[in-house]
Amino acid sequence: MNKRIIYPKTESGVSIVIPSPNWKGTIEELAIKDVPTGLPYKIVDVSDIPSDRTFRNAWEYTE
């Protein structure tokens, strides 16, 4: 699955949900299940996630 789910962390920063290859549902169903209730989220392509993690802790969620 070449999709990821991003949502803002409650402590600041951004969390990225990576589906298991064994996940049988849709990315939308996964978002409903694994994104904490009440938080906004977005579904993005893998290519939208930076591969350079040097400043990973500085990444932010933007609408």
Partner: protein
């Protein structure tokens, strides 16, 4: 695997198709073969004519085949081995089968002989039987409690899962900070979570449950890093949970 009987001659045998194949082939000389979860008895045995009989398992995915013979085991034999064989009821649990064409008298067999081959229905010590697949708190019958409810091997630098059981996703929260999300929620939070890592270099990399959030029935949050220095991504993170 050997046959486990019901109370012959009344009714029920348990065994794999191969068990039944060997048993009937030995004593009744009826051509038979195993086909998937069934045993099929053919019609071309020399001197014997038998209907084709299909024994269906009640649970096709279950490796145990159950046969229920209505009217008792002896009646079953009488019903199907008649045209070229003489069947004599010898006792309550035995029957003599004599094939008239078999001058050498090699095709006779006693159900009692068959019964004598059948081991005790009590499984060997240590066997995992269905009742043990419970989550009972009783040590003797809780095989399910000894099996991991969740396990996963993932790459902490990408949060990509290599393989897992009961894991829907990994959430990459920050450097050295991931949440393992369960496909099916666990029954409680008093589980034993075991985690190990392979660090990016030969050093004291370690893994721990984070204090940022408590374990829940649906996820557990992991932190990895170089002990006493900094959190860091690790290329191999293993998490296993027992409950």
């Amino acid at each position: 695997m050997a046959l486990i009987p019901g109370t012959l001659p009344n009714d029920t045998c348990y065994g794999t198709p191969q068990d039944l194949l060997e048993l009937f082939a030995q004593y009744l000389d009826v051509p038979a073969f195993a086909l998937n979860s069934k045993v099929v008895f053919g019609t071309s045995s020399a001197g014997l004519t038998a209907d084709v009989i299909w024994f269906d398992t009640t649970a096709p995915t279950n490796p145990i085949l159950k046969i229920t013979v209505s009217g008792g085991f002896t009646d079953y034999i009488k019903n199907y081995i008649t045209s070229a064989a003489t069947v004599t009821i010898v006792g309550a649990d035995s029957v003599l089968i004599l094939d008239a064409s078999d001058s050498g008298n090699t095709k006779k067999g006693l159900v009692s002989d068959i019964v004598s081959l059948v081991p005790s229905p009590t499984p060997p010590a240590g066997s995992i039987t269905f009742p043990m697949l419970s989550t009972s708190a009783t040590e003797a019958d809780n095989a399910a409690k000894r099996v991991a409810k969740v396990w996963v091997n993932y790459n902490g630098t990408t949060a990509g899962i290599r393989d897992d059981f009961n894991v829907s996703s990994i959430t990459d929260n920050a450097e050295g900070d991931q949440t393992v999300n369960f496909s099916s929620s666990l029954s409680g939070t008093s589980y034993c979570a075991v985690a190990t890592v392979q660090g990016p270099a030969e050093d004291l990399y370690t893994c721990m449950l984070t204090s940022v959030s408590s374990p829940t029935t649906s996820s557990v949050r992991i932190r990895t890093g170089l002990r006493g220095v900094a959190f860091a991504d690790c290329p191999i993170v293993n998490v296993c949970i027992f409950l």
